[in-house]
């Protein structure tokens, strides 16, 4: 514009058509908006690091294949966890602060069931097999998950299962009405697809020796679980009619339902408030018994999944809160009742729950034909070398490794919550650790770097981040999006989609599944409720609201990278895009700070 101009070179009147795009107004900027995905709390809160936001994104768009691929990278058995998981994701879901948490588990189940029906097959994540062999001791969720991931990483895994069938607690603990055996069987088929060898009736120390495993395998994963019930430690525990919950359930699963039922009598008192207690109670209900659940604290403190408690009560179980057994009464060596003492809630203990304190002289008696205890379980270390364990657990490092040997452990035998999903997570962790170990990387610094890259804030390790270029995933594994960072203006209150349910009076008559699961519409509707915290879902807000037209659509992107790009030639750094990003994907960094490229 400073070049010489001549009147005759101008159009005959002040008319113009040259674009303002020659003005690089980006030089006005003090602050620079950058796209930077973050981790949603559901994802971070999932022990198996399920990429929930992506899974729901693709489900909402109807691309179930893509959703399933992402999901099964982390979690081998969505049809199982979709039924039995205690879903910590949902309790962390930011939407819970807005209206109601997204029904993530139900969508997961829908996706898992869809895959089973569609006959989806998992494939190894790496193209080549490694010639390494790994022994997996224990065919429960942890062991099976470990074998699954090892196989997908190209290693040959052999599962040693003491029982006649694999599945562990999935098979012998969780009743059919929650997890039908057909689903379990179908899910376990994945292991066959991956050429995992499962040896049943193979108890270590009995059918196969520890030394043999040590000799024959490049690594060993121990996940034998907890199968010893904790005693009540009250008089009368040895009476006939006092059973442990695990014993009861296992017996049932082994086809001894009918004789057992006759033995139980009419009135069953279940002691405990965990999932085992609920499973026991509901099973007993299905056997036609009158069931009372006795728990030392209140319902709110019960460790069982709330839905389980709710369903148990709906099905007719009676709950007596704030009571603790002091004595089991018997006649002729057989239970006739249980003496319970009332409790009040005192100061919180280290678990944060209020400690029950006995009220002197408040004892009362409940008539009972059977008392089933479900107050906790302990591992059975028979067959394992002494040096592997202490009294309660197998101590492991942050990789799940035991004593810096080639032995790794997971599931309920290590010090972690006794849940299915934690078991699956420990299996995955061990599979990654074993992969690193087999490649000779585990004791090197490299392992720490890898861990930083693949570990989420709550400690879960991401298989996707492990096997793929993490840059392509965009997700920043160090930062969790809190509700306060979101812009809820763009969210409408939509009630959570309630799963359909068989009526209680019908479902107590058999062992068929209580919930039929979501149909397509329900699953999509629920998936659409996901806020995609910290993850760009192409909502167009940044594009539409940019006053400088500096946000462009990145139409060529192929599912990786952002759907938008910022043209910094024009961006004046006003920050509207950041403010209006509903899900905190965009953020402002200081111009010249080197952040954000």
């Amino acid at each position: 514009m400073t070049t010489a101009i001549r009147p005759e070179s101008l159009p005959p009147m002040a008319i113009t058509w040259d674009s303002t795009r020659v003005n690089k107004t980006g030089s006005w900027r003090y602050l620079r908006p950058v796209y930077r995905d973050k981790t949603p709390p559901c994802h971070a809160g999932c022990p198996t690091t399920n990429e929930i936001e992506r899974v729901l994104y693709w489900v909402a768009l109807g691309d179930l294949d893509r959703a399933w691929e992402i999901l099964t990278a982390e979690n081998p058995f969505p049809a199982i966890t979709g039924r039995v998981c205690h879903h910590p994701c949902e309790s962390r879901c930011n939407r819970g602060r807005f209206d109601e948490a997204v029904g993530i588990r139900e969508v997961e189940r829908f996706l898992g069931d869809w895959a089973l029906r569609a006959g989806k097959r998992v494939e190894p994540l790496v193209p080549k097999k490694s010639n390494k062999r790994v022994a997996v001791v224990g065919g429960g969720p942890a062991g099976l998950a470990c074998a699954y991931h090892l196989a997908r990483l190209g290693h040959a895994a052999t599962v040693f299962e003491a029982n006649p069938e694999p599945g562990g607690v999935l098979r012998y603990g969780i009743p059919n009405y929650r997890l039908p055996k057909s689903v379990l069987k179908a899910e376990l088929h994945k292991l066959k697809d991956l050429d995992v060898e499962i040896r049943t009736n193979a108890r270590v120390g009995q059918d196969v020796s520890w030394d043999e495993l040590q000799r024959q395998y490049d690594a060993i994963f121990v996940a034998t679980g907890v199968w010893k019930s904790l005693p009540l430690r009250v008089p009368g525990e040895d009476l006939k009619g006092v059973l442990s919950g695990l014993q009861f359930l296992k017996a049932l699963h082994q086809g001894q339902g009918q004789p057992l039922s006759e033995e139980l009598g009419e009135r069953v008192v279940v002691v405990g408030g965990g999932n085992t207690a609920m499973d026991v109670a509901r099973t007993a209900l299905r056997l036609g018994k009158r069931v009372v659940i006795a728990y030392r604290r209140t319902r709110a403190e019960m460790p069982a999944i709330p839905e389980e408690i709710e369903e148990a009560l709906a099905e007719g179980a009676e709950l007596i809160e704030r009571v603790s057994p002091t004595k089991i009464l018997g006649e002729d060596g057989r239970v006739v009742g249980i003496e319970l003492q009332k409790m009040r809630l005192g100061e919180p203990d280290e678990s944060g729950r209020r400690r029950p304190v006995p009220i002197e002289g408040s004892e009362f008696v409940l008539e009972a034909d059977t008392v089933i205890t479900a107050i906790g379980e302990a591992p059975d270390f028979a067959g394992l070398p002494e040096e592997l364990h202490d009294e309660w657990v197998v101590p492991v490092d942050e990789w799940g490794r035991v004593l810096r040997q080639k032995v790794f452990a997971g599931g309920d035998v290590i010090d972690q919550p006794h849940t299915v999903v934690d078991a699956l997570a420990s299996g995955k962790r061990a599979a990654i650790a074993i992969d690193l170990f087999l490649k000779g990387k585990l004791d090197r610094k490299e392992a720490d770097e890898i861990r930083r890259r693949i570990e989420l804030p709550q400690g879960g390790l991401s298989m996707r981040r492990y096997v793929e270029d993490p840059g392509a995933l965009l997700l920043d594994n160090t930062r969790i999006v809190e509700y306060e960072q979101l812009n809820p203006a763009y969210f409408q209150k939509i009630a959570r989609t309630p799963p359909q349910e068989r009526p209680p009076e019908a479902r107590v008559r058999d062992f068929s599944e209580v919930k039929p699961g979501f149909d397509w519409d329900e699953a999509l509707r629920e998936a659409e409720r996901c806020l995609h915290c910290g993850v760009c879902n192409g909502c167009d807000n940044c594009f539409v609201f940019c006053p400088d037209l500096a946000v462009t659509r990145n139409a060529g992107a192929d599912g990786r990278g952002y759907p938008y790009a910022i043209n910094y030639d024009y961006c004046k750094g006003c920050g509207i895009c950041v403010q209006e990003c509903p899900r905190a994907v965009l953020e402002l960094v200081r111009e010249g700070s080197g952040e954000g490229g």
Binding site: A4, I5, R6, S9, A14
Partner: protein, 405 residues
Amino acid sequence: MAKKVLMGNHAVSYGARLSRVEVIAAYPITPQTQVVEELAEMCAWGDLNAKFIKVESEHSAMAACIGASATGARAFTATSSQGLLLMHEMLHWAAGARLPIVMANINRALAPPWSIWSEQTDSLAQRDTGWLQFYCESNQEVLDTTIQAFKISERVLLPAMIILDAFFLSHTYEPVEVPAQEAVDEFLPPYKPPLKLDVDDPHAFGALVGPDGYYEFRYNIQKAFEEAQRAIIEVGEEFGERFGRAYGLVEPFYVDDAEVVLVTSSTITSTARAVIKERRARGERVGLLKIRVFRPFPFEAVREMLLGVPKVAVIDRNLSLGHHGIFHAELKSALYGQRNAPAVFGFVAGLGGRDVTPRTIHQILDIVGSQEEPDRDVYWIGLKAKAEEGQPAGNGRKQRQRVKA
């Protein structure tokens, strides 16, 4: 008296405040807005007891001033450029009704193309409307003239326009001596309208006048302008006595023995003074005549100063399209038919805020110095195309030749 560093627009506001204006009706327009913003601020803080009306257009601003003035209030407004043109119809009315409204106009170029920078065409195009016009050179002059304008206007019952250059004055900060309120009160007594809208003494304002009377009304306005010349001189002198700064219709600067006299107005005067000083220091006989009052045009004063001067160069930051720079044309008609009338060179410069620098003035003096008579009606100075500089915009006695470069 206190010296303050004020922007030109605020110098207007201070002048209006010291004049104790009672009604301000205005509409925002760049680069005028600060004038009325400052007045609104003064009203909000109780520093000025006036009613501020933010009307919905300049047309209404002037109409409101007319109403206020007709009611006997001291009315003030300020505008610029398109705003002045929009109120044009009402300008005729204000003068025709002989209402001593005072208005500041910030000289800004007319559109299109749209410009907010300095040019005098907006106010000069109002030269037929019957308004007194004062062109100011400095912020001090702006403030002083505002106060004088009320006194002059109210004496001759004509509206007055105080005119200052956009940005070169309106937005320029410089030291200004602000007179004390008491001193101004002594100088400028409250307005006593000879006739006003009064329920106790009703008169009709703005009635239809047919061919039998209209001519005389116009004649009287013209006579009032003759009276205004005297009023401006007397009020300017009185102001000088009271405040130490006297003003007149024109202001000579090294004119006495000058062979070339620049005729300027507004801020170009100031820059030209610097050039004249510089050339005088070199021994060149150049001078400058500033025209402060354009309406009434100071015919006598101009003749007194310029007859006998060999060459005169008028610098116009304005243009009457299809004609000349307006000061240029006016000056020629003033000197026409007089003995020893100088050769008059007309220069157009600085339209739309094109900077007029000392170099521009030197160029003008060089052109005038190099020829006895102008060889064209209008010289354009400062056009970007070098080959075009100094070429006539046609209409010359010699056919304009387009230089191809």
